[in-house]
């Protein structure tokens, strides 16, 4: 499959988690089923998620993060030097209590298993597969830190461990990687540190890099409120190609803000509200894209939902993706027609909303 040059569609990362999968995970955490059985369930789920995305017409797919009980624990529990106590929990969505008692051991870092996850996903799709993971700043916020006098040093240490795993991912063939920082909006003064850590993670790894910053999607709720002005100017220094942001839920005023701040690379444009089960009408998504096209050329827009689809029921999640793909194709056609001189052009049309 060839990815379209204009307005490629993708997902942020996570895919719908059915009730029964949530129950299976919780059963695992309570010791009722084995890791072997759960792993087998996850394999089937990942294949199904890839198929759903392919059928929806998504250009760049993901494994749906379906092996992960939440956005933190899967990676955090694998980092050397991170102590989890206890390792059982009532619900898979709950966070572990994680502790760092001493500096993280960074010599000869062990594989975290992310490269293996990527390899499984890419082997089961003919489309480009993005691999997303939670970034060092957000991971650090869930750690009781007794190992570093300066919290920033913990962030940097995690970043170095992740960088080693990113090299393994690249070796496994990953070419599209994404760092998620769902906690950053709650700590706007820490943007520079988060960006510094992002650059540690990406160092020497040849891939298309995205940075996803939202206002949180824990339990389908925002964890924070505010505006994206806190990212600037720090984010200019981030060694990433795409900045994937949440707009559909909050409105598109912040897109003006981002472009005014001088972001000159690609924007991952959130056009689907993942905190609302209402499936957006096609013309609303078209209007959102047209509005973005007034500010950005189509070469610099990637089309995606606001955030992961984890909390949406599967039929809703697939319907939203289908609408997103359909709307994007309509706008691509408008752009093509405009380029051929047969239409007045998408960017000049009036928005329906927002």
């Amino acid at each position: 499959m060839t990815t379209p040059a204009l307005l490629p569609t993708t997902v942020i990362g996570s895919y719908s988690v059915p009730d029964w999968l949530e129950r299976a995970r919780t059963d695992y955490h309570r010791g009722r089923i084995s890791s072997v059985q759960l792993g087998s369930i996850h394999d089937v789920c990942v294949k199904a998620a890839l198929k759903d995305q392919e059928l929806a017409g998504i250009d760049i797919v993901s494994d749906g993060e379906l092996r992960r009980d939440n956005d933190i624990d899967y990676v955090l529990a694998r980092l050397p030097g991170v102590r989890i106590a206890p390792t059982t929990k009532d619900s898979a969505y709950d966070y572990f209590d994680a502790y760092v008692d001493a500096a993280l051991p960074e010599d000869d870092p062990p594989e975290l298993g992310l490269a293996r996850d990527y390899a499984f996903a890419s082997a089961h799709t003919d489309r480009p597969a993005k691999f997303s993971f939670t970034g060092p700043f957000s991971l650090s916020r869930r750690i009781h830190n007794h190992g570093y006098r300066q919290p920033a040093d913990l962030v940097r240490a995690i970043a170095r461990l992740l960088n080693a795993e990113m090299h393994a991912l690249a070796a496994a063939g990953a070419t599209i990687l994404q760092i998620d920082e769902p906690f950053l909006a709650g700590y706007p003064d820490e943007a520079a540190l988060a960006v510094e850590a992002v650059n540690i993670v990406t160092a020497g790894v040849n891939a298309q890099w995205s940075l996803h910053v939202c206002y949180g999607n824990r339990y389908a709720r925002p964890s924070w409120e505010g505006h994206y002005d806190f990212l600037f100017p720090a984010v200019h220094k981030a060694e990433v190609d795409v900045l994937a942001l949440e707009f559909a839920r909050k409105g598109y005023d912040d897109l003006d803000l981002v472009t005014r701040a001088g972001w000159d690379r690609t924007i991952g444009l959130g056009v689907i509200d993942v905190k609302n089960t209402r499936v957006e009408p096609v013309d609303l998504i078209v209007a959102r894209l047209r509005r973005a096209l007034r500010l950005l050329p189509p070469e610099r827009i990637q089309v995606n939902p606001d955030c992961g689809l984890r909390h949406l029921p599967t039929p809703i999640a697939t319907a939203k993706l289908q609408v997103m793909v359909h709307a994007t194709r309509l706008v691509r056609d408008e752009i093509d027609a405009h380029a051929r001189g047969t239409d007045s052009g998408a960017a000049n049309q009036e928005d329906r909303s927002e």
């Binding site: 619900s91 709950d94 824990r218 339990y219 709720r221 409120e225 505010g226």
Partner: protein, 493 residues
């Protein structure tokens, strides 16, 4: 045979139950039948509500599951309080009667007047009576000569408690101060009250808010939007008048407490405090049970016992069917219109009020257990599948508990309104430990003209948790000797 005696605390103390006197006659009656006694359950409750929907001895069918080839079983339900009051001879006679009726006409009509077909209890017409009570509260109070609040333990609603209001406001100020320090406090500060009563709670809260804000030098009161929300325009108007002094900051919104998000969707993730007082216990509820490892929903059927039905048909000069029609009309039209549409039966609204009270006093619920084929097809509330019940149903031995469907619907829908730093505070009758359902009767009871069920707190906790909220319960701290519990829900992490 399994005998489940739930109120074990009644076996000791100053006035212990004479279990032989109440259980003995029932067991003797069972022994005199040809039932397979190994399949019979006898469950004993202590129904603390003097006015309730039970008779001293009820018989319930546990419907078999055709898929498993299992047949029907029987449950004999004994209200120890009523049974002890009538004595052993009458207990035996009642037990013989219900067993004979089951043997002779297991599913046929009896002289009792059934008002509806079998269905989940939340669909029963008893909730129609409950709604009618709140709709025509003024008439009920006039007919009984007693105001609702006077009927409450303590003589007034705990919602009016000044100290409780002050505590909530102080907590709110702390959250707002912290957000303001981060330049993250929105300009508009929303507070929502669901179920406003006469507006006195809102007045206490707003008066305190203004005073405390002024004492701090002001800043928040002028940004405050207090939304009074109730399903009754009449009640809202009354409440709005009560808080007229704060009119610039108060809006009145008509809404269904079980679906606040419908009217307040524009406030999703924006409300800092939602306050709910004595609403949840009065919303429709099913009951579910786990019996012998299988899950059941309790189906019920409202009826008037034969004696009550005969008394009313005689007094009104109508047939049994005519009586059933009058009751249905009463629930639809209310007492005032009823007097107009049936002038040949009722001399005026006062007669209708007597009729309403007589029907309400006599109303009973027949019950049976229908098997659930998986929990997920059973909808607790919109968007909340029966899977939410699993941890509670599988928490130990057999259990029967409320689903609190209306409360769950309201609670889950309200959580969406809350700002990331918002709080839901509810004062109500909560069961806070699932084991309590194995020990104590928690409703339904009759409270004046309304239905009261304790609310399934562990279920709300599980649903809150799944939605990212920590839910805590504390006994209401500002009045001693009350059963009222304070639920607080806040976003976790």
């Amino acid at each position: 045979m399994l005998i489940d005696l739930r109120p074990t605390n009644r076996l000791r103390g100053k006035q212990p139950i004479d279990t032989r006197a109440v259980l003995g006659p029932v067991l003797d009656a069972l022994a005199g039948t040809d039932l397979d006694l190994g399949t019979v359950r006898v469950v004993c409750d202590w129904v603390q509500y003097r006015a309730n929907f039970r008779t001293p001895i009820d018989l319930r069918t546990i419907l078999g599951d055709e898929r498993h080839g299992s047949g029907d079983r029987l449950e004999i339900a004994l209200d120890l309080r009523q049974a002890a009051a009538i004595g052993p001879a009458q207990c035996r006679s009642l037990a013989d009667a219900v067993l004979a009726r089951h043997r002779d006409t297991p599913d046929a009509a009896t002289a009792d007047l059934y008002l509806e077909p079998w269905g989940p209890t939340s669909q029963s017409c008893l909730w129609g009576f409950n709604a009618l009570y709140w709709r025509a509260l003024e008439l009920w109070e006039k007919a009984t000569g007693r105001l609702y609040e006077q009927a409450l333990p303590g003589g007034e609603s705990d919602a009016r408690n000044v100290a409780a209001a002050r505590e909530m406001i102080t907590d709110l100020f702390a959250v707002w101060d912290a957000l303001a320090a981060r330049n993250a406090l929105p300009e508009e500060l929303y507070v929502v009250e669901l179920g406003v009563g006469n507006g006195h709670q809102a007045k206490v809260w707003l008066d305190e808010f203004r005073a405390l804000d002024h004492a701090r030098g002001g800043g928040y009161y002028h940004r405050l939007h207090y939304l009074l929300c109730d399903y009754s325009p009449h009640v809202l108007e009354m409440a709005r008048t009560t808080v007229n002094d704060h009119s610039g900051h108060v809006s009145a919104v008509v809404l269904d407490a079980t679906r606040p998000g419908v009217a307040l969707a524009f406030l999703n993730f924006k409300v800092f405090l939602v306050y709910v007082s004595n609403v949840y216990d009065n919303l429709p509820s099913d009951e579910v049970a786990r019996i012998g490892g299988s899950a059941y929903v309790v189906q019920s059927r409202a009826y008037l016992p034969a004696a009550t039905a005969a008394e009313l048909t005689g007094a009104l000069g109508v047939s049994a069917d005519g009586l059933a029609r009058l009751i249905a009309q009463l629930l639809k039209l209310g007492p005032e219109l009823m007097a107009e549409v049936a002038p040949d039966v009722f001399g005026g609204p006062d007669d209708v009020m007597h009729f309403w009270q007589a029907v309400w006093n006599g109303l009973r619920l027949a019950e049976r257990y229908a098997p659930l084929h998986g929990l997920d097809p059973y909808e607790v509330a919109p968007g909340v599948s029966g899977e939410a019940l699993r941890p509670l149903l599988e928490s130990g031995e057999d259990i029967r508990m409320h689903v609190s469907n209306g409360a769950v619907a309201s609670f889950a829908d309200t959580l969406r309104l809350l700002h990331p730093y918002g709080t839901l505070v509810a004062h109500d009758l909560f069961v806070t430990d699932v084991d309590a359902y194995r020990r104590l009767y928690r409703g339904p009871g009759k409270y004046e003209g309304s239905v009261v069920n304790w609310v399934n707190g562990p279920l709300l906790t599980a649903i809150g948790r799944r939605n990212g909220f920590d839910v805590t319960y504390q006994p209401f701290r500002h009045r001693s000797g009350t059963n009222i519990v304070t639920l607080t829900a806040r976003a976790r992490d």
